[in-house]
């Protein structure tokens, strides 16, 4: 084994590989190949071997699988046992995990099992076998950027913020499937997910959507959120919200963007009637493009917006939804 081998945790949900996994595989490929290393992936649960083609396409040479039935849904302890065992098995120098709800939970537990360090929610990565793993990550909810490193401990863990790293396929053949025997796995995990309750209408989550449309106090009343929802729907976007309207009970906390909500990095963020309190800006200022729609030209949101629309959102939003609907219809 080389000193630059990288293991990627290939999270599955309902039998599917998630896009952040493809981003992590692409990042892993870049880290490993620069130093003659090789990428392996780990997928858990029945049917995990089915992902050999996509794992290979994005850079994995090997796909380790543990197809035990108890791993169908997330089981924090058992998944950590399997991930740590896989890291040992391939003698990984680096372990990359998507910073999804599952990955944020799993990576530190697996890292502790190997008495090693973990860099959380990183947005940039570099690796050198001598200097170790180095990353940039937003801290203080994006109000500052820290450069952090794991110089010596191996394997060095990192969780990768979704939507930040590109997912680039290659022409590579399917990964070689290798069943992994994990002696420490109990037949039935002690703690596990027993059921999953779906959000209404399969709503997109703000943390993983490429486009987020958010509403704030400027909407004036909870029923006016329909203007935001309509725009989100035509864009295929997730619906976000400011803390003020979440605290007022207009929309559940799962939609909150900001310091005590979710930190998002979408391609496009559209803030409707959000003035831009520091704690909201902290959650979305790393979006690639920010559109602010607000009638107050002095609103702080305009300081970080790419495009600022000074106007009445009740006039702008329906027209914008209609214009985009027409655009999509034209293809």
């Amino acid at each position: 084994m080389g000193q630059a081998d990288v293991l990627v945790f290939a999270e599955r949900r309902e039998g599917q590989i998630k896009r952040p996994v493809l981003e992590a595989l692409t990042a892993a490929r870049k880290l490993a190949t620069a130093h003659g290393g090789e990428v392996s992936a780990l997928a858990l649960g029945p049917g995990a071997a089915a992902h050999a083609a996509v794992a290979g396409q994005y850079g994995a040479r090997r796909l380790l699988v543990v197809e035990a039935p108890g791993l169908e849904l997330y089981a924090p302890e058992a998944y950590a046992v399997a991930l740590a065992a896989a890291a040992r098995h391939v003698e990984a120098a680096v372990v990359l995990v998507p910073a999804t709800a599952m990955g944020r939970d799993l990576a530190p537990r697996a890292a502790a099992r190997l008495a090693t360090g973990c860099l959380s929610d990183v947005t940039d990565l570099e690796f050198d076998p001598r200097q170790g793993l180095r990353a940039r990550r937003p801290v203080y909810s994006g109000k500052a950027i820290a450069t952090v490193a794991i110089p010596k401990a191996r394997p060095a863990f990192a969780t990768l913020r979704p939507n930040v790293f590109p997912a680039e396929p290659t022409e590579s053949p399917p990964a070689a499937v290798e069943p992994l025997q994990v002696a420490e796995l109990a037949a039935t995990p002690r703690v596990r997910v027993v059921r999953v309750e779906k959000a209404a209408r399969g709503e997109l989550d703000v943390a993983e959507a490429a486009i987020v449309v958010s509403g704030g106090r400027g909407l004036r009343a909870p029923e006016n959120f329909k203007l935001v929802r309509e725009l989100a729907e035509v864009l295929g976007a997730a619906v976000g919200a400011s803390r003020a309207v979440v605290d007022a009970g207009w929309i559940p906390h799962a939609h909150q963007v900001g310091q005590t909500g979710k930190v998002v990095s979408p391609q496009l963020y559209i803030a409707c009637g959000i003035s831009g309190a520091i704690q909201h800006l902290a959650g979305m200022s790393s979006a690639k493009v920010i559109v602010a729609i607000n009638k107050d030209p002095q609103a702080p949101i305009f300081k970080i917006a790419t495009y600022g629309v000074v106007g009445d959102l009740f006039e702008i939003l329906p027209r914008l939804s209609e214009a985009i609907r027409r655009l999509k219809a034209e293809g």
Binding site: P76, P138, I150, A199, H253, V263, S285, G308, I316
Partner: protein, 261 residues
Amino acid sequence: MKILVGVKHVPDTAARVRIAEDGVSLDEREIKMILSPYDEFALEEALRQREARGEGEVLVVSAGAETAQATLRQCLAMGADRALLIQDARYDRADGLARARALAAVARREQPALILVGKYGVGTDEGQTGPMLAELLGWPHAAAVVRLQVHGERFEAHREIEGAVEVLEGPLPAVITTEKGLNEPRYPSLQGIMAAKRKPLDVVSPQALGLDAEELGPGQRVVWERLELPSPRPACRTLEGDPDTVVAELVRLLREEAKVL
């Protein structure tokens, strides 16, 4: 039931961030330190569990600088029974594993049935301590929990994932990390503040708990090399005028210039 709550004191979330001269730490002058907001949910949940049972003890533990004593005193004012500070300023910058080891050392002595910690300490925003602590103790955990029920020797926890809610079940003892939405933390009452002055707040060194101080110093696993402000975003292009023109121009820019449509 004995419940241990791990808490962290952090820079006030409303504060403007300034970088200190060393280029790697926060300029903490003029910054108020507060109880990390997610830890408030953890403490509130512990107090509610104790109140629902009419018995039990809530112990709050922190690892950090001497100033964390004020944060622990606030926890006592909210209703915790006693507090312990593992005092060493280097914990404020220590990695998740070092912090988890400190809490684990206390947990092994105290043998709580339940440990509650915030899903992460705001500021470093890592979320490592809880799952790492569970692993060190060999206990189950559930992270970022928005609803918690404890029946006898088992728990049921709800956590929000992308577009859904996961319901986990497991045995106690366990580590639970808490997310906004779990409860509404109480404010300390005047009576609580007075009572807190007489409650025990013990201070120990890491060495007294048998902890290796090396991982807090030069031998640390995770090194902070630099801290900087985000690069400023390009100036905003403002669109004004009648709504139809503005919308047409916005769509054009998003499509042709920003290329996000």
